[in-house]
């Protein structure tokens, strides 16, 4: 099962490089351009992207113009821009963009928004593959080397959260609030218990790393 492909057009290399880096680590496949015209031209040859992150102020063709190309190939768009005025935001969203993020932004919000857009447009990978473990997101089934592994619903949610944030540290607080819900009033100890049981059932003792005082990280070397 191929990873989701993301198309980035951003003229500031500092930003596009880090965004690409972050996305690659989490498991997306990324193609980046720093020029609107070149990006538009490249779409002729290859347009099988699941999502586009577009800056608005670009050399050559600007972000709003690029949108029509994306529309043509049915690629959902998230704008990432320094233009904070509501007129641009309204124009972007009215035209049909899925989201509008103003710089500076945090990576975690970007990741969540990307995930939501992919889920909404039905392009999110149904299967996550890590170390020979396949997570079927729709049927809530986990297999390791084609053997079905029996996980409780909480364990499944924790595992999928870690898998969706591959190579990223996920704090205990975030795990609690996303899996147990914001109304849960217990200690974070219950997270540690679930992680221990996941490690045991899947044999991921080294690969789910404990990050001292913060949380856990499911690691996989980027190819």
């Amino acid at each position: 099962m191929a990873a989701n492909r993301i198309f980035i057009v951003e003229d500031d290399h500092g930003i596009s490089d880090t965004v690409a880096l972050n996305l690659r680590y989490v498991g997306y496949e990324v193609t980046a351009f720093d020029d609107g015209s070149a990006a538009a031209a490249s779409l002729e040859a290859d347009h099988s992207y699941d999502l586009a992150l577009l800056d608005i102020m670009l050399p050559g063709i600007d972000g709003f113009e690029l949108f029509s190309y994306m529309e043509k190939y049915c690629i959902p768009v998230i704008y990432i821009t320094a233009k904070a005025d509501s007129a641009s935001e309204i124009k972007g969203l009215r035209d049909g963009a899925e989201d509008y993020i103003v710089k500076p932004f945090e990576v975690i919000t970007l990741l969540v928004r990307i995930e939501k857009v992919l889920a909404r447009t039905g392009k999110l990978n149904r299967y996550l593959n890590v170390h020979g473990i396949t997570i079927d997101m729709t049927n809530h089934i986990v297999t390791k080397d084609d053997v079905l592994i029996d996980l409780s619903p909480l364990e499944f949610d924790v595992l999928s959260l870690l898998a969706r944030n591959l190579n990223r540290t996920v704090s205990r607080e975030r795990i609690l609030s996303e899996v147990w819900g914001p109304d849960y009033f217990g200690g974070t100890h219950t997270v540690d218990v679930r992680i221990a049981s996941i490690r045991k059932k899947l044999g991921l003792f080294d690969l789910i790393k404990t990050i001292p005082k913060i949380g856990y990280r499911l690691e996989e070397r980027v190819k």
């Binding site: 003229d11 500031d12 500092g14 930003i15 490089d17 880090t18 965004v19 880096l21 972050n22 680590y25 720093d34 020029d35 102020m57 050399p59 320094a82 904070a84 710089k103 500076p104 932004f105 945090e106 990576v107 975690i108 190579n167 990223r168 540290t169 790393k209 990280r217 690691e219």
Partner: protein
């Protein structure tokens, strides 16, 4: 109380006082002259009567006539000339009188003199003229008693038409005064309305007053003032607008480096990066910090320029040497040569630090477009300083805008060279602070010349 009412009141009271005084004076004068006339007439009459009577008596009377005869003779002679107003008294006895009152009450106390007396008897004004003569040892007193009520009748009659005339002239005067005051004050009222509108923010409002008097002058001065205010408000609005754009620009410029740093910091914190990636992230954060620091310094100098400049005379050659010293190294690294052409003796009066910074900015800009191996020229001629490059040139439609803060022609390219878009805005501010003019001449593909004319 309103000014118009006050003026009307004062004018009215003055008018009434003047007219009344005139009437009274006129009446008194008339009375005086008429009384004199009546007196003169009575005197004349008395003198004639006395003369005729004494001549006739002297002619007819004899020394030894009896008393009765003399009395009858006197009566006869007197009645020949007299009328109702005459009275004759002989030795304290009334000889002749047609008066209804006893004439003895007019007896004169001082018998030596002719006398004139005004009396009022039974409500009638009378004039009394008398004299005495002696004929044949008898003392005769001859009086004229004249009723002068006609004098008063005459005055009364005069007043009866003078009063209506005065009253109507006062009323006419009042109407003229009120109309005039209203006419004079209407422009003031208009001015007040206009001032009120201007206060409410309509600065284009002007008073439409065409009189040439003081109010007209006030109105024209007022209009001049309003025009100045309108101009100043427009200037201030413009400045405020530009400052807002400027601050917006500053905020915008800070966004991208901040976003980049945030992303890298997040990656360093949360992702198990390999060594090369970690180093790259750290380097990226450092570079962004350096760039922000550069931007901060330029913004600061832009603000400082707007405060005060300290001019002192300096040789252009010295200034150019200083500029060359500070930028030579970085130009050498880019393989660019700086050619300096100037007179050794020309002295200019400038803020050395600011002009130094101005030239550095211009040369820095030039170096960003100059390919390695080519040169940049720094020239001076009299008070004109010139920076010339042989780079790509600036399209004509861009020249107008490049002085605006944060304006960069080729955004992505500029970033690579570390351009912030502040440099030329700073150059412009420094030039303005020195009252110098900037001229940019550029041909695309051939290069750009920036001329700073320090004037004088």
């Amino acid at each position: 109380m309103r000014l118009g009412k006050k003026m009307a009141l004062v004018c009215t009271s003055v008018l009434i006082t003047v007219v009344t005084t005139c009437c009274i004076l006129f009446a008194l004068q008339t009375k005086e002259s008429m009384l004199n006339l009546a007196e003169e007439y009575a005197k004349q009459k008395q003198a004639n009567l006395q003369k005729s009577f004494s001549e006739m008596m002297n002619y007819y009377s004899l020394k030894n006539d009896s008393d009765e005869l003399n009395f009858s003779l006197a009566y006869y002679c007197f009645s020949r000339f007299s009328d109702d107003e005459a009275v004759l008294i002989r030795d304290s006895g009334v000889v002749y009188s047609k008066l209804e009152i006893n004439p003895q009450r007019f007896y004169v106390q001082n018998k030596d003199k002719q006398f004139i007396n005004h009396e009022r008897i039974d409500g009638n004004p009378l004039i009394l003229i008398g004299d005495q003569i002696s004929i044949n040892d008898s003392n005769y007193e001859i009086y004229i008693v004249q009723n002068i009520s006609w004098v008063y009748d005459n005055i009364r009659e005069n007043l009866s038409y003078i009063i209506p005339i005065s009253v109507s002239s006062i009323i006419l005067g009042l109407i003229i005064i009120i109309l005039y005051i209203r006419g004079a004050l209407t422009p003031l009222e208009n001015l007040r309305v206009v001032a009120k509108r201007i206060t409410l923010g309509d600065f284009s409002e002007r008073a439409n007053i065409i009189t040439t008097d003081e109010i007209g002058q006030l109105a024209s001065d007022f209009n001049t003032m309003a025009a100045h205010i309108e101009q100043k408000v427009a200037e201030l609005t413009d400045i405020a607008m530009r400052q807002r754009l400027f601050i917006g620009g500053v905020v915008h410029e800070f966004k991208t480096p901040l976003a980049t740093m945030l992303l890298h910091a997040d990656a360093l914190e949360n992702i198990c990066l390999n060594n090369a990636e970690r180093e790259k992230s750290l380097e990226c954060i450092t570079n962004q910090c350096i760039w922000l620091e550069k931007l901060r310094r330029k913004l600061l100098s832009l603000i400082v320029v707007q405060d005060e400049i300290k001019k002192r005379p300096v040789k252009i050659a010295t200034l150019f040497q200083r500029v060359s010293d500070s930028i030579e190294k970085s130009l050498e690294q880019k393989g660019i040569l700086l050619k300096i052409l100037c007179d050794t003796d020309t002295v200019i009066d400038v803020d050395v630090d600011l002009v130094h910074s101005l030239l550095l900015n211009l040369i820095d800009n030039a170096s960003n477009v100059t390919p390695p191996g080519k040169s940049i020229e720094l020239k001076s001629e009299n008070n004109m300083i010139e920076v010339r490059d042989y780079g790509c040139g600036i399209p004509p439609y861009e020249i107008e805008r490049i002085m605006e803060p944060f304006y960069v022609i080729d955004k992505s390219r500029s970033k690579i060279n570390g351009g912030s878009g502040i440099g030329l805005a700073l150059v412009k501010s420094i030039a303005i602070a020195h009252s110098a003019s900037i001229k940019i001449e550029s041909v695309v593909g051939e290069g750009t010349t920036v001329k700073i004319d320090l004037g004088r």
